[in-house]
């Protein structure tokens, strides 16, 4: 057995990206869910859909606002969090765990260099 190391990066649009090999799991940050308030609706992309970096890939709607979730990196959707649309409160209770949105197989891993690490993201949110 080999251990695959994963790293977590962040975007300026308050998404987190957990990278394991060539696969990126995407969700929204604790800060983002606090700003949104109670999430009531989630729309996920289709598995197999291809997105360029920065394109709208999913939708999240709270009691306060509706927002797009952008593809943080270019690639093809490899998996989605099937249970999330039926239980959108997971985005509030566990945004960086069970409340993940989708996984992308990266087509351009060099885009990773443009994302923030945790320290830079904390500075970005003014925390």
């Amino acid at each position: 057995m080999s251990t695959v190391k994963s790293t977590v990066k962040f975007t300026a649009d308050h998404e987190w990206v957990q990278i394991t090999g060539n696969l990126a799991r995407v969700g929204i940050t604790q800060y983002a869910q606090e700003q949104l308030g109670d999430v009531v609706f989630v729309e996920l992309p289709a598995v197999g859909a291809t997105f360029a970096q920065g394109k709208e890939a999913a939708v999240v709607e709270s009691v306060k606002a509706a927002s797009d979730i952008y593809a943080p990196l270019s690639g093809t959707v490899a998996a989605v969090n099937d249970g999330l649309p039926d239980n959108p409160s997971l985005v509030n209770t566990d945004p960086q765990g069970d409340g993940w949105f989708f996984e992308i197989t990266l087509s351009n891993p060099s885009e990773l260099d443009g994302l923030m690490d945790e320290t830079a993201y904390q500075a970005h949110t003014g925390a």
């Binding site: 109670d38 009531v40 609706f41 009691v63 306060k64 606002a65 959108p88 409160s89």
Partner: protein
Amino acid sequence: MTAQDRSQGRHSRDAVVELASVETTSGHRGLILEEPLIFELGQPGRLGVDLPDAPKAPNRLGALARRGGVGLPDLAEPQVVRHFTRLSQKNYGIDSGFFPLGSCTMKHNPRLNERMARLPGFADIHPLQPISTVQGALELIDTLAHWLKTLTGMPAVAMSPAAGAHGEFCGMVAIKAALAARGESHRTRVLVPESAHGTNPATAASIGFSVDPIPATAEGRVDLAAFKAKLGPDVAAIMLTNPNTCGLFERDIREIADAIHGAGGYFYCDGANFNAIVGRVRPADLGVDCMHINLHKTFSTPHGGGGPGSGPVVLSDALAAYAPLPWIVNRNGSFAVLEAAEAEAAHSFGRLKAFHGQMGMFVRALSYMLSHGADGLWQVASDAVLNANYILASLKEAFSAPFDGPCMHEVLFDDSFLKDTGVSTLDFAKALIDEGYHPMTMYFPLVVHGAMLIEPTETEDKATLDKFITVMRALAEKAKAGDAEAFHTAPRLTPRRRLDETLAARKPVLRWSPPKLAQAAE
């Protein structure tokens, strides 16, 4: 006489406030009755009228015949009358009191308008009756069109759009048709400032344009440099709201118009906030190519629960040829209706609505215009802006205004004055309900945090505004004094207290089912 003498044995105010937390045996509170659904009121066999038995007739429906009852409740007439009267009493509207819902222009609906709309020649006609019998109604539409063109300085107007967003759709389809006629259908990007109405990006996207947001400046206006940087050969249009949803006039609007035209795009202006400038600014002079006008805002026709919207769209020469069907044309004093893309309307993009538009609203809007006159409409805009600035000036110490300087017709606050109080914008709005006010618009626009958007309109007098200001200041003081619990449990004086809005959105119950069917479904 002393105060006690005047009480004549009535309880003091303190006792009344205590009652708010008392549960009653009936579930009613005062004369506010606990209202069941009309289905729950029904009892089998009750009748409102005495109908004769249906005559025996052969069944020609075969397998299509209904096998069970239709599930309508059996009710007597007094039950029906009381039920709907009580529901109407629960409704809060502009006829009940101050309605400061920002961005909605909840102004008084003059009764003269209602009287005019009920004239049989306008009320009792049908769009399919012979044109020769509705010449007066067509002349009214044409006259309203004339004044809309005069007030905006624009050469053409499409009357059929049924509301603001429908008007946006109309304008953007006209732009799409104009681009196609120029052979430039590759222009698919629409620039939408963050300070625009939320329907603008939705409209652009629904027609197949891609939406490119333009950031706002620290002043709450379009970032001109960012806008210019986004111009390019694929830009179809800009959709801009002026005054914008921060209640601010876009000062650079002429430069924005010139730049979008220079780049080969069109200028859509959202006219929802026309009430702030009607009679004082002509959108044509700002370089606008098309703009919808909410008759149900600026021109006082009822909306919300009170009636349908109506959103005529004024068009520049560049777009006029593509206006939707039908076209009402004046042929030597007699009015004709062009129903197909022919003659003058040969380039029309087609039909948006079955008929001519919201006739009842046309009558009301023209009645409003003619009864005010040019000087009266000028005064409308002036008073609407004055009222908003009176609120801004009176509350800016206790609240937090995100942008410096005066506003137009509506006042925007953010929630920084509530920082560390534990009270949110939502809590604040709920507390206003207990004070007898319909809450302001909240959490919109998105460009500021925890937005509160207040639009008093010209309808309200100083006494109403002063009372509202007193209440708002008192609530702000209460929040800052640390009484967060009172806000979290508000409203407390309503038949229902704080509702679980999250549960309502996550698991909405949108229709009643008879108990038996509900069991069968489980």
